[in-house]
Amino acid sequence: MLSQLRSLWEVLKHTFVKPDTVEYPDQKRELFPRYRGRIILTRDPDGEERCVACNLCAVACPVDCIALQKAEDENGRWYPDFFRINFSRCIMCGFCEEACPTNAIQLTPDFEMCEYDRQNMVYEKQHLLIDGTGKYHDYNFYRVAGMTIGGKVKGQAENETQPVDVKTLLP
């Protein structure tokens, strides 16, 4: 009986507690920089596409919302021929971002992507690709990776030593 009265009193005290509600469209909360929202594709500091079409994001995606096709340019760089994310399936889990070896795919603090037509939720590469570097400003995959591309042979990457010539005994 006393506990009933006590809970009545405790609830009544909430008359003077400020509501927790954030009146969303009028009043927007500040989202943290690492909030997992709309997915983007970033470019490296030189302005080239970071994505190397390795398909790891598509494999990691638990809802299979990413589709892409590899292509290769004249310098030997890999890039996605098309890159398609179906946001009506995407659950914003961020696994693709974790899987990406080149920091190309990133999630942004933006979730306001409502559409009246479901087909408009399918974003193609031109919708996903941004001009900047996203969260990682200095990273350039082809400059740290040992892969040979046009204008850069093995041993010229950052922190990479020249390859050992196994056919000579000279030091």
């Binding site: 009545l8 009544l12 008359t15």
Partner: protein, 318 residues
């Protein structure tokens, strides 16, 4: 029976304002519950969300009014009107202020008791006519709950009747000039309060409805305006209950400075808010707990209260 009927303006005014108040309670309840749960509640439609009621009404009128093919159609249609009508007619005896009221007769209190028990037919018939397990369970619960709680609902207010010596609600109010009956009849008040909550089927004693266990209880199959009738009927029941509590225990229209009608409305409003607070704060008891509590605690307590009050009245006035 010295029936004194109020004039037509009074009757229409009371009828209209009671219905408006009951409808506005939809908004009031949602807002108050929101306040107590640190939320905002409906605040979009109109200023402070006041037009929410209108929006709800429009929605209800345009809903499909579906009568299940497996139901007992005539009873199904009649059931929701009963609660609405009995609760509205219950307001006939409420003394709002001196000279304001619909009818003034000797057995006002008995009339209220009779109508509040009649309203359970609505629930029982709705549960039966829906021809649905959950509705039937709700109807059964309503019947058992009402029968049990009605017994000491009557007994608990006999103390008030003894002190004032009348069943006439106006005279009961007048008898409280020297002090509200809540002080000498505190236990009677507590018992009556619990009984009234059970009678109006409000949370925490809303076992016939119990949406967590019985889907919607007796109104599972109801939609559109028929559901609206149950809905508004429930709010009418709250209003009527707090008006009766105010009349019996809190001195009705009596009070300093303000005009009597304002006092009555203020006290009733506080009563209604208390009902909503009860809903916001207390959990629903289990069904067997409800029955045990009613028969083993409240009934003896009511009888004891009656006995002591009778003895005191007898020894004082001989």
């Amino acid at each position: 029976m010295n029936a004194g009927l109020g004039d037509a303006a009074d009757i229409i005014g009371i009828l209209v304002s009671v219905i408006i108040v009951a409808a506005m309670l939809i908004w009031v309840e949602r807002r108050l519950l929101a306040v107590w749960q640190d939320r905002l509640g409906p605040n979009r439609v109109g200023p402070l969300g006041l037009m929410q009621v209108v929006a709800d009404m429009i929605k209800m009128f345009f809903k499909e009014d579906w009568i299940p093919p497996f139901s007992d159609k005539l009873v199904f249609i009649l059931a929701p009107t009963i609660v609405f009508i009995t609760m509205l007619t219950g307001f006939a005896v409420i003394p709002f202020a001196p000279g304001v009221g619909i009818i003034d007769f000797n057995f006002g209190l008995l009339y209220f008791l009779a109508l509040s028990s009649l309203s359970v037919y609505s629930i029982v018939l709705a549960g039966y006519a829906s021809n649905n397990k959950y509705s039937l369970l709700g109807g059964l619960r309503a019947a058992a709950q009402t029968v049990s709680y009605e017994v000491f609902m009557g007994i608990s207010i006999m103390g008030v009747v003894m002190l004032s010596g009348t069943f006439n609600l106006r005279e009961i109010v007048e008898a409280q000039r020297d002090g509200w009956f809540i002080i000498p009849q505190f236990f009677g008040f507590i018992i009556f309060l619990i009984a009234v909550i059970a009678e109006s089927r409000r949370a925490p004693l809303d076992l016939p409805e119990a949406e967590q266990e019985l889907v919607g209880g007796f109104h599972t199959e109801y939609s559109g305006m028929k559901f609206g009738m149950f809905f508004v009927g429930e709010y009418l029941a709250i209003t009527l209950s707090s008006a009766i509590i105010v009349t019996l225990f809190f001195g009705g229209w009596l009070g300093p400075w303000l005009p009597p009608l304002v006092w009555f409305c203020l006290k009733t409003a506080v009563g209604i808010m208390f009902f909503i607070l009860l809903r916001g704060a207390l959990p629903r008891p289990r069904y067997d707990q409800l029955m045990t509590f009613g028969w083993k605690i409240l009934l003896p307590a009511g009888l004891l209260n009656l006995l002591v009050t009778g003895a005191v009245v007898l020894s004082l006035h001989g």
